[in-house]
């Protein structure tokens, strides 16, 4: 009952070293850029505060807005891959026609909400077009516009998913559900 150390090494290598990037598409580029810009901004703040003893004033506010944008732009990737956290355990116990029905409601509901949210974020952007950010001379409307655009893209993805669910057989839909993995927190 001892471990085969060589085999263990292989197991670790297999589990750790995933460099499979086949599921990453050009559509993920905006999210990647935002993410690395956010990393750079917070690193810059860190550096100026600890090393130069003189922190840049705008970094905190900029970082917060990048985080907001990352949340919504990143959510597009999650929605596309169906990796947002959901209680999918019931799907595994449902018959295929029931899965199809449940998913149709889910996608229809998601489309409705995302469309609603996109619409009113545009209104929010219009209302705040005169409002400037505190430390940066930029209108807050840009922030809201990016969020609105993300929500709009998500609406389209959600509608596509609704269409895909409705037009395929119940068995196909159920098989796909059981093979997608949600994000792990």
């Amino acid at each position: 009952m001892t471990l085969d150390t060589e085999r263990l090494k292989d197991d670790f290598a297999e589990a750790e070293m995933s460099d499979d990037i086949s599921d990453i598409s050009k559509a993920d580029i905006p999210a990647l850029l935002i993410f690395w810009a956010l990393f750079a901004i917070v690193l810059a703040q860190f550096f100026t505060r600890y090393v130069l003893n003189n922190s840049l004033g705008w970094t905190e506010e900029a970082a917060r807005y990048f985080l907001v944008v990352l949340c919504f732009v990143g959510a597009i990737t999650g929605l596309r891959k169906g990796s947002h956290i959901a209680l999918t355990f019931l799907h595994q116990r449902m018959s295929p026609p029931k899965v199809k029905a449940a998913l149709s409601v889910v996608h229809a509901g998601s489309s409705l909400f995302l469309g609603y949210a996109a619409w009113f974020t545009v209104e929010l952007a219009q209302r705040t077009s005169h409002q400037k950010m505190i430390s940066l001379n930029i209108s807050k409307a840009y922030l809201y516009s990016l969020v609105a655009a993300s929500l709009f893209i998500m609406t389209i993805i959600s509608l596509q998913q609704l269409w895909r669910t409705l037009t395929r057989s119940a068995q196909e839909v159920a098989d796909e559900v059981n093979s997608t993995a949600t994000v792990e927190i």
């Binding site: 589990a15 999650g78 009113f120």
Partner: protein, 425 residues
Amino acid sequence: MSLLVMFVLLALLLVLGMPVALSLASASAVYIILEGLPNVVVVHNMINGVDSFPLLAIPFFILAGHLMNSAGITERIFTFARALVGWAPGGLGHVNVGASVIFAGMSGAAVADAGGLGTIEIKAMRDAGYDTDFAVGVTAASSTIGPIIPPSLPLVIYGVMASASIGELFAAGLVPGLMMAVALMIMVAWYAWRRDYPRDLVFRPALVLASFLQAFLPLLTPVIIVGGIVSGLFTPTEAAVAAAAYALCLGLFVYRSLTWRHILRVSIDTIETSAAILLIVAAATIFAWILTANQVANGLGEFLLSISQNPQVILIFITLIVLALGLFMETIAAITILVPVLLPIAQQVGIDPVHLGIVVVLNLMLGLLTPPVGMVLYVLAQVSGVSFERCLKATAPFLVPLILVLLLVTFVPAFSLYLPTQFYR
């Protein structure tokens, strides 16, 4: 009435399998429409919910965790833990708990711990001849240490929602996290004695030293994070960025194991996980706003306080509420919804917000190990090929030591409050 519609709709959407974030936001939107409130309120609250500096810690702790997982670091930690505690009877069980503790000091999540390190641990234990049930049980139970020992994503979210110091919360989690580890190790020792499990290897100081040196640089990560935050040198966000930058340097320059493909992979995974969490926070913000506007906390508070004003009794009620919701709700969403309701009640009877935070997160961790929504069990069932029902049965005995720790931490505030008092107050 609109409130009832909102709750029923939320439950319905969740059961149908709509993502948690979208269920919360949709149900809230329906409430806003029914009440005739301005519709902009929904998105405005959602955006304001994530427009927060402390929340910035989330993507970077996730990034650091992912980088640690893909830079050959997990193996060094496992090897070190093995040399350190593998000599005891039931050796790999102890190694499993020990590695979880070390990894908990680098990553802030439970399910990721189960999915990453856990996969290998279960496989290694089965290969070495341990019972599958034992392997799954220890792995599942020990993965819940992750969000108690700092850094911790749930504690960041709690801190933001409760306006409590995240540094204090992190400091408060350290002792309860170690208590969980000790309790689980006692359980492992008991199993080893009952089932006559063997030792994994002989204790050799030279081996411990060699594996310690191999793991030295990664082991500095918890020191940077925990030490930096507890001593007040870093804010949690800064500690997260420092940890991520450090892990990146290790992978790129020291071990040279990271390629640009790895970095791309890790970035996308980080973005996906962060966005999923942040979107739940955003959606739960509008939901919590509606609960607050309707004074749900006041109603519940009056009811609970009419039964008893004793903090211990109120803590029992809070525990029961959190446990019940934790059975069905995902951790992050549960925290965001519960805090605005429970915190005012707790404060009325003098329960410390930091203490409450540890109690809430500990309770929710038990929810990860119980049906119907035991996320850790689902992940372990997926990666180990063991059925969900069997995972459930295998993990059940390990709930006993965890519940004992929960009771101790709940009713003896000193366990969580000693360190923050020493360093912060």
